[in-house]
Symmetry: C2
């Protein structure tokens, strides 16, 4: 059960997220790009700095100074980044978050725990759940393309802070 959390509130965002991103990756979803385009780099940078989920329009606002003018610039970059497996879309939030894998796990069946108090997101993988879902799909002749698993609730530190 791999786990890692990006904590939204926490972590003074160090600038200069390593954009061009070595990409020794050999496993990525789609193609692993040798290098990101300018817009992709900027969008990925915004998500990395944030350390938590952002909506496309929030990203747009953050990139005005970099010349971004229209939502499509953001959505196009996000589409690619998701394809590359570097960013996940959170369906229940209509938002996007940089992937937080320690090092390149499965990446097909990630789960996300979203705190409704502070907005932090924890990404984790659970082999048993993956196995179970694939099992259901197999038993029901369902060709599984993608799974969405999102937990809503209150994280430990927000519960502590009564």
């Amino acid at each position: 059960m791999a786990e890692h959390s990006h904590d939204h509130a926490a972590s003074g965002h160090d600038d200069a997220p390593d954009h061009d991103h070595g990409h020794d990756h050999t496993h990525d979803h789609g193609s692993a790009p040798a290098k990101l385009t300018r817009n992709q780099t900027l969008v990925y940078g915004a998500l990395s700095r944030a350390g938590g989920p952002l909506t496309a329009y929030t990203i747009l606002d953050q990139l005005r100074d970099d010349g971004f003018r229209a939502p499509l610039q953001v959505y196009r970059a996000l589409e690619k980044l998701v394809e590359f497996g570097m960013v996940h879309r959170l369906e229940s939030l209509n938002a996007f978050v940089a992937c937080s894998h320690p090092q390149c796990v499965d990446h097909e069946t990630m789960a996300f725990a979203i705190c409704e108090a502070c907005g932090s997101v924890s990404e984790f993988a659970d082999a048993a759940i993956t196995r179970q879902l694939k099992g259901w799909a197999g038993n029901n002749g369902f060709a599984l393309a993608k799974t969405t698993i999102e937990l809503r609730g209150t994280c430990r530190s927000c519960q502590a802070a009564v």
Copy 2:
């Protein structure tokens, strides 16, 4: 592993979905209403007839003749129906579907398999997955409020039809 599918395309929708809905239920999510309001009845009827997911605006269009004029009329009814456990929201589709439980299962951790070819949705519960998610939540001090599990892919019959 309870399962039941509403098949969108299939099933000639018999009219007159039993609206007022006996409601012997004793387990529902929020309160179990003795009787639905007019708008709730109409919205639930539309979803039942459809036998598959509908967006709020599609429902609105279908209920023009019944006097519906504004999205809020639909959203308000949906909010209650979801609260009652009679309707589920599909996050990855921004749509709503009538619950298809054979008879009142857990209802807290349902999963949905959505066919991207025909739009059909199968709702199922899997105890192992539920256990696993609650386990993660317990281990991580996460107070679980709601879970979303949605599978995207191609259903058996759409695969058959090459």
